[in-house]
Amino acid sequence: MLAMMDDVLHIGNETENKVQAEQGKLPEPELKPEKAPEETKLETPKEKHSDSQTPLIDFQHVTKAYARKVAISDVNLRINEGEFVSIVGQSGAGKTTLIKLLTKQEPPTHGSIFVAGRNLADLRAKEVPFYRRKIGVVFQDFKLLPQKTVWENVAFALEVCGFSQDEIERRTTKALELVNLGRRRKNYPEELSGGERQRTAIARALVHSPKILIADEPTGNLDPVNTWEIVELLYRIYQRGTTVILSTHNRQVVDKIKKRVILMKGGKIISDELGGKYVI
């Protein structure tokens, strides 16, 4: 657990930070995660979603029906460890529902979802919180607690999971350094820009050193400058070996990332391409 933490959130000296900041920038015309320095690498991010390995995430004929609406309909989807996947689609396409199924906030109506080979339906209620600690989630509306500072918001995620004070200090410091908010630690959310708020939320999502980071429309409330700041940060997190799932309907964001793009419409996946473009 701690070793994993070091891999994912390892922050070295200043120069290292600069190097990483460079790499966080989206290079044109092509991104090569293999160029990531040795010490950041957990496992080489997979560029292909080949069938040869057990996928990290596996949706098998998943349908989610609400009382009056089928939000997800017979979805099959495999995501390998270390991938950067963008889920795109208009509002109501089912992106958020897909994420809720993945975080086990909602059970599927039909079909099964496997994460790391384990069927989520078999997770006991007691295990669910521990499962959630392995998936970081960020949202369009940040979901920060207004009466807590940046530091307290991030530390809160560890406090409520029973971490020791030393461990909280250590992990919170590292996470805030990773999102480059060390200097804003004493500020309250209302004193931050939208981008800084989202970076706080990302730091909170990373503080458990999750294997998967899910971002549901993280740039939906942000201006273009802040949007790039967040996308670059997500990219950097991906380069460190974390599987990143990004839901968005921002065409520029998707076109720039040039990673796997899953297009959803009416609860179905209608295209799934590598280096995809936003096409509707």
């Binding site: 521990f130 979901k143 029973g162 971490f163 020791s164």
Partner: protein
């Protein structure tokens, strides 16, 4: 990637944080909290009053038992055992007597100690200074035969060992019976009322807790996203529930003491209004004081349990099923 339980949490910081969160929330919503606490106080007061009534009934029963039908007292402590035994045999031989029981000085003191009467009257009589006379408690087959039994005993008392002027007929028996039925009624009414108020309190405390939970639904939502265990989501609310019980107990106890003190004071100065109390010479304040420990324990038990149950019920829908 292992999805199973991975216990990296330590117990004591967790408990400390849960208590801290509970206290913070208790204080942050202090007006709502005050409402819940007052409701809890009302419930506990009703319960305490009906418990006091139960005690009172029990003690009054002791009082009444000590006044069976007829009690004869011995003239003084010099009367020898032989004379007493002889008298007992003669009394038991009388046709209308159904039972006769000798009460020695220690037994008399035990009864005396349980009487719900003013401490100032009670106190001077102790084991070393036992001025209570020995007596024989007699039951007869019917109230009508009491007088003839008294006469017959007087006739057989050749040694003159009976204090004839202090033979106690149950003149008070009707009064005492009435007293018992009043006490019983008050006790039942108290029980019904405390159940009624208890239900109202549960309902309202539940509502108040629901409001505080809704006010903090963001926090709970985030706690769940970041993987807080059910215990941690529930914990602070349980702490709050315990605090309702705790403060409810404190308020109730203060309230009972104030009422007890007030009525004792009032009973000492007035003649009409609290004649019920004067009849048995009951000092409510002393009575409450004497039972304070029991009352506090019961209030604490019920209050804390109620708080915990209500909190747990309200928070349930926020937990992993």
């Amino acid at each position: 990637m292992n999805l199973g339980v991975n216990m990296s949490s330590s117990f004591f910081p967790t408990i400390k944080r849960i208590i801290k969160l509970g206290l913070t929330n208790f204080w942050r919503n202090r007006w709502l909290t005050l409402g819940a606490t007052l409701l809890m106080t009302l419930t506990l007061t009703m319960i305490s009053v009906s418990i006091l009534m139960t005690y009172l009934l029990r003690d009054t029963a002791a009082l009444i038992n000590s006044k069976i039908d007829l009690t004869i007292y011995f003239r003084d402590d010099t009367v020898v055992d032989n004379s007493i035994t002889a008298l007992m045999t003669r009394i038991q031989g009388l046709p209308d007597v159904t039972s006769a029981r000798f009460v020695d000085k220690a037994a008399a003191l035990a009864i005396w100690d349980r009487l719900p009467i003013n401490e100032n009257i009670k106190k001077p009589v102790t084991a070393t200074n036992n001025t209570l006379p020995r007596s024989i408690e007699i039951s007869t087959n019917s109230p009508d035969s009491i007088q003839s039994v008294v006469d017959k005993i007087g006739a057989t008392d050749t040694d003159k060992i009976i204090c004839t002027e202090c033979v106690s007929y149950s003149k008070n028996k009707d009064t005492v019976n009435r007293l018992i039925s009043i006490t019983k009624f008050v006790q039942r009414a108290g029980l019904v009322l405390s159940m009624f108020f208890g239900l109202i309190a549960i309902f309202n405390v539940m509502n108040i807790i629901r409001i505080t939970i809704t006010a903090r639904s963001d926090e709970i939502e985030i706690m769940r996203y970041v993987g807080a265990s059910n215990a941690f989501v529930r914990g602070p609310f349980i702490v709050e529930g315990i605090l309702y019980g705790l403060f409810g107990t404190i308020f109730t106890t203060l309230f009972l003491l104030a009422i007890g003190y007030g009525s004792s004071y009032y009973a000492g100065t007035s003649s009409g209004a609290l004649s019920f109390l004067q009849m048995i010479n009951l000092d409510i304040f002393q009575y409450v004081l004497a039972h304070l420990f029991d009352l506090v324990l019961i209030q604490l038990g019920i209050g804390v349990l109620l708080g915990i149950v209500v909190s747990s019920l309200s928070i349930r829908r926020f937990l992993e099923a």
